[in-house]
Amino acid sequence: MKAKIHVTLKQGILDPQGKAIEHALDSLGFKNAGNVRVGKYMEVDVNEPDCAKADVQVKQMCEKLLANTVIEDYRYELQ
C-alpha cells in the first residue's frame, strides 16, 4: 500500500517560509495571492496487505518521525 502523508504547521505557528514566498509572489505581481502556508508531502510504500495494520504503522511513523507533533499536524491516506 502507498501512504500519502501531509505534514503541516499547526494553526498559529509562525511559517517563515510561507511568509517569504508570499512576499516573493507579491513582488512577482501576484497581488491576489496571500496566506501562504508551506508543509511537507510524503509518499511511503508500506508492504503490509492488511489495511488496519498498515494504518497503525503509518500513524506511528508520523508520530515518531515524520511529523514534529509539537508544532506540526499530520494527516494521511492509504491507497
Binding site: P16, Q17, A20, I21, A24, S27, L28, V38
Partner: protein, 240 residues
C-alpha cells in the same frame, strides 16, 4: 578593476568578498543593492554566499527574481565577468545563467570544512593563475551543494571543458570519498559556455589570506584580475 558585490536580503558573505577585493587585493569595490537595475562601469560582478531570502522554498529560488538579476543577465550577455560563490552559484543555477540544480547534501547536514578541489581547466578567465590539475584547498559551507543535471547537459559541459573544479583528495584523486555532498561527478564549480560566468560551491574568499592559514583561494581572484591584464597587482597584501 571595478567590482560590484551584489547584496541580496540574506546575503552574508558580501562583506567578505568586499574585503578580499578591496582591502586585500586593492581593487575598487561597489556594493550593489538587489533592487538596482543598472550595472554601469563594472568589470566584474560577484554574487556572494549566504542565505538569500533565507533559502526558503529552494536555495536561490526567490533571489533570482530580484531586480538586479535582470541587470546581471544583461551584463553577462555582454561578456562581463560574473562569479557566484556558494549561494551565488545556487542563484545562477535558478536564474538559468548556468545549467543544473542543487539538491540537498546527501548527509542532509550543513557541512563546513576544508575540501580539496582539482583545477580541471586552467585556461579560463577564472583559473589562468593555476596549473592544470593543480589541487586547491578551499573551504565549503553549505547544506545544498549536491550538484545535479541531466546526462545530456552533463555530457555537454564536460565536452566543452566547462567543469572547472572537482572535489578530490589531497593528492588530486577524484574519488567518491572525496565528495563531501554527493555532487554529480564530484562537480564543485562550472562555468558557462562563453567562459565568463563561474559558479562554485567552495569559498575562495575564506582562503585567500595567510593570517587565515591558507591562500589557495586567492589564485581565483588573481586569475580574474590578470584576465583584465593586471598580473602585477598593486595590492595591499595583509599578513604577508
Amino acid at each position: 578593476m571595478k567590482i560590484g558585490v551584489v547584496v541580496f536580503p540574506g546575503s552574508n558573505c558580501d562583506h567578505d568578498c568586499q574585503y578580499i577585493f578591496q582591502d586585500v587585493l586593492g581593487q575598487y569595490v561597489e556594493m550593489i543593492w538587489h533592487k538596482e537595475t543598472l550595472l554601469a562601469g563594472l568589470d566584474a560582478v560577484v554574487l556572494p554566499g549566504g542565505f538569500s531570502y533565507g533559502d526558503y522554498l529552494r536555495t536561490g529560488a526567490i533571489a533570482r527574481f530580484s531586480p538586479v538579476m535582470g541587470a546581471v543577465k544583461a551584463f553577462a550577455s555582454k561578456g562581463g565577468l560574473v562569479i557566484g560563490i556558494c549561494n551565488g552559484f545556487q542563484i545562477l543555477l535558478e536564474a538559468g545563467l548556468l545549467p543544473g540544480v542543487m539538491l540537498r547534501n546527501t548527509s542532509l547536514n550543513f557541512i563546513c570544512k576544508d575540501v580539496y578541489v582539482k583545477v580541471e581547466n586552467a585556461a579560463t578567465r577564472f583559473t589562468n593563475q593555476c596549473e592544470s590539475g593543480q589541487v586547491l584547498k578551499i573551504p565549503i559551507a553549505h547544506a545544498d551543494g549536491n550538484y545535479y543535471t541531466d546526462p545530456v547537459t552533463l555530457g555537454g559541459i564536460k565536452a566543452n571543458a566547462q567543469v572547472l573544479f572537482r572535489y578530490c583528495t589531497a593528492d588530486g584523486k577524484v574519488t567518491p570519498d572525496a565528495n563531501p555532498n554527493g555532487s554529480l561527478d564530484n562537480i564543485a564549480g562550472i562555468m558557462n559556455a562563453d567562459g565568463n560566468v563561474l559558479g562554485m560551491m567552495p569559498h575562495p574568499e575564506r582562503s585567500a589570506e595567510s593570517i587565515l592559514g591558507n591562500e589557495d583561494g586567492r589564485l581565483i581572484f588573481q586569475s580574474m584580475l590578470s584576465s583584465f591584464g593586471k598580473p602585477e597587482l598593486q595590492s595591499r597584501l595583509i599578513g604577508v
